[in-house]
Symmetry: C2
């Protein structure tokens, strides 16, 4: 079977091995006499960094949040579990190679074949690329139909996010059978990962929607400074942090026996595309902005506090009024107000051009969070926020999706292996 | 007049002075007791860099191409030359402050006023931000109407780009009275510049279209390595370079007497949004890709050459066939084939989600070029390319615009002053 035949047959079975050298080392590629090296176009120290792909848990969750995101949701067009398994195997192999800074595939220098790798990252560093996979509810059942014979393996807490107060969702931008979250400090590397997985999946999946994020809006470790979102506020000050393993195990990671067995060391991802009505926000007085959020804009300190990481005093009053208003975002989102529940946020800012009818920038926050049980965590919190959060005046949720994020894979294995065990 | 009244009156006259401290220095802002500093979230050395805004020529043209782009085109909704002049003055002042890493405006800490600056870059470095302004043909005449009394000042070479072979333009994504090209190594800084100019312009302009670019596709100086575009090829190997001042004066910069007098030290910008049909491209054999471009994919060497910067041998033949085919992109774009003409390219890669009907990534090249005469340079070259370039099979031009780029401003002056002299 020639490479071209393989290409046309849909999902290729080619093993994906090294095409380009490791970071910093140019190696000869085939007989053509040219070199693929790392030419230093973006020679920042941190762009050298790689994040291991294999492990008990998938990367891209606890990993220190990289600066850039390319997220994509796919729908399956095949119908047999074997085809799904082949796809997951191939995606796993390709993701593992790309996170090491290698080209996808082993056919990249044959003149008469289409190169396996699309080539736009040749010369670039991996820049901490992580590729994280998830499974949507439809994978296990759609319209009452057990599409892949996987109904009995459905993770218990994987249910579509119900309609929530204030939703203005676009169905074409929501849901999906599978998702890929590619994060890197180089946007071209994140794009390349999604593009090449889409390409490998041709004949098995079509892309349903995708989202580029240009700036992280959360820190996931204590070593990272809190970034600002497009409202100009520090975002994620009270986020969970990877270092707090007790919290991570309580709120994010599934243990054995917590859900279906194959989801141990997995978690659930919820995504929401939140458009900010930035023109309205920008016309609001600083005090209105600060009471809406419940924090000081520049320092990030909670109202009534002095420093960013001061504990918000939800009981404080001034002239009989609460210092942090009853409808302030940080009050309503606080664990104390949500049966102690919390989530790991890992969102990104976006802008997608202009909202035509308004002549305004289409921009906001692509919210991503991880948790053990979306119903009890994201949905319960968002139900409260969607009803009375002062922030609602300034935002619209335009996309929603939920995915079961299976555990990581070991070399030789593949992501989602537990589906077929 | 209160700040809020000013805000509502459309174009504010507030002088824009320093809000935040210089790079690395946190300074107290007003009486609120908080600090605005540079908190090192993105403490890369090169993110410290600033590019001077003021000068004989505008920055963002010869400037070493930054990594990220936010481009926006605006239509004017006012009708008097005074209002246009006020807008240009205010935009100039704001751009000058932002390129120094300062906040826009002087009202950023008053509780009862909307902050002048939207705040999302507090704590970030300028990251070589440049803001470059241009004027579209409609500014001087639209539907035969002299909208601002500027018809007599129209730059001679400023004419709409005519329909070109293979055009598939979307009118809503084309043209515009004014443009802003914001480039920075930090996308949040580029976004912030466009957003804050749009905000200052409220009541005077509406945004017509905007485009985010995530990776530069050209080098503008010899110190920069040639980047790859989303076809995986090095792009811009034969670009003009800032160091070659003779070429720059011959092909890019207008001298006194070359056009209307106020355009001395100005130039013309053409933008084209070029969608790549990447799924079709990705199915092409390496040899097809290489003969389409006329270069080797990995090394960037011209066909028949060994190294990237080897001079393409357009006369070379192998078995009576030209080594660089007759319809290869680099042959048709070569100065030798275009009466010696050349252009300065300064484009960016983009992806804007999914083309819905196809389930394919909407991605490609946002082409930007600078030249002394669009008719003789971009249009003449593109007319030839659009007719017979082998690349046409893989691309679609979906947006087109042309702008006169006036000279730079001196402190106290403003961009486009010559319009009103």
């Amino acid at each position: 079977m020639s490479a071209e035949d393989e290409q046309r047959s849909g999902i290729s079975r080619r093993r994906l091995i090294a095409g380009a050298g490791a970071a910093g080392v140019g190696i000869g590629l085939g007989g053509a006499g040219y070199l693929i090296g790392r030419d230093g176009a973006e020679a920042e120290t941190h762009l050298d960094d790689t994040v291991p792909f294999f492990g008990a848990r998938q990367a891209g969750i606890e990993t220190p949040a990289q600066d850039r995101l390319h997220f994509a949701a796919f729908d399956l067009t095949v119908s047999s579990p074997d085809e799904l398994r082949d796809l997951l195997r191939e995606w796993t192999d390709a993701a593992a190679e790309m996170t090491r800074g290698r080209m996808v595939g082993d056919v990249n220098d044959e003149q008469l074949a289409p190169p396996d790798d699309t080539g736009e990252t040749v010369g670039l560093q991996p820049a901490s690329l992580t590729v994280t996979f998830g499974f949507g509810p439809d994978l296990f059942e759609r319209d009452g139909r057990d599409r892949f014979g996987l109904r009995s393996r459905r993770p218990r807490a994987l249910r579509p996010i119900p309609p929530l107060p204030g939703d203005t969702l676009e169905p074409g931008l929501s849901g999906g059978d599978l998702c890929v979250q590619a994060c890197s400090d180089d946007p071209q590397v994140a794009f390349h990962a999604v593009r090449n997985l889409a390409r490998l999946g041709r004949g098995a999946v079509v892309m349903r929607w995708s989202q580029l994020g240009f700036g992280r809006t959360s820190s996931t470790t204590r070593s990272q400074a809190t970034p600002r979102n497009l409202m100009g506020f520090k975002d994620g000050t009270r986020n969970l942090r990877a270092e707090d393993t007790e919290d991570m195990n309580r709120f994010v990671w599934l243990g054995p026996g917590d859900d279906v067995p194959w989801m141990a060391n997995g978690t659930y991802m919820v995504t929401r595309r939140i458009r900010m009505l930035i023109e309205i926000w920008d016309r609001s007085a600083l005090s209105d902005q600060e009471t809406t959020i419940g924090r000081h804009k520049y320092s990030g300190a909670p109202l009534g506090g002095a420093r960013e990481f001061d504990d918000p005093d939800l009981g404080a009053r001034r002239q009989s009024e609460p210092v942090i208003p009853a409808d302030a975002h940080i009050r309503l989102a606080a664990p104390r107000m949500n049966d102690g529940e919390s989530i790991l946020r890992r969102g990104y800012s976006f802008t997608d051009g202009v909202v035509e009818e308004l002549g305004e920038l289409d921009a906001g926050l692509f919210f991503i969070c991880f948790q053990r049980d979306p119903d009890k965590q994201f949905t319960a919190i968002q139900r409260r926020l969607g009803r009375i959060d002062a922030l609602n005046e300034y935002i619209r949720h335009t996309s929603s999706a939920v995915f079961a994020v299976p555990p990581g894979a070991q070399p030789g294995g593949f992501i989602g292996e537990g589906l077929f065990a």
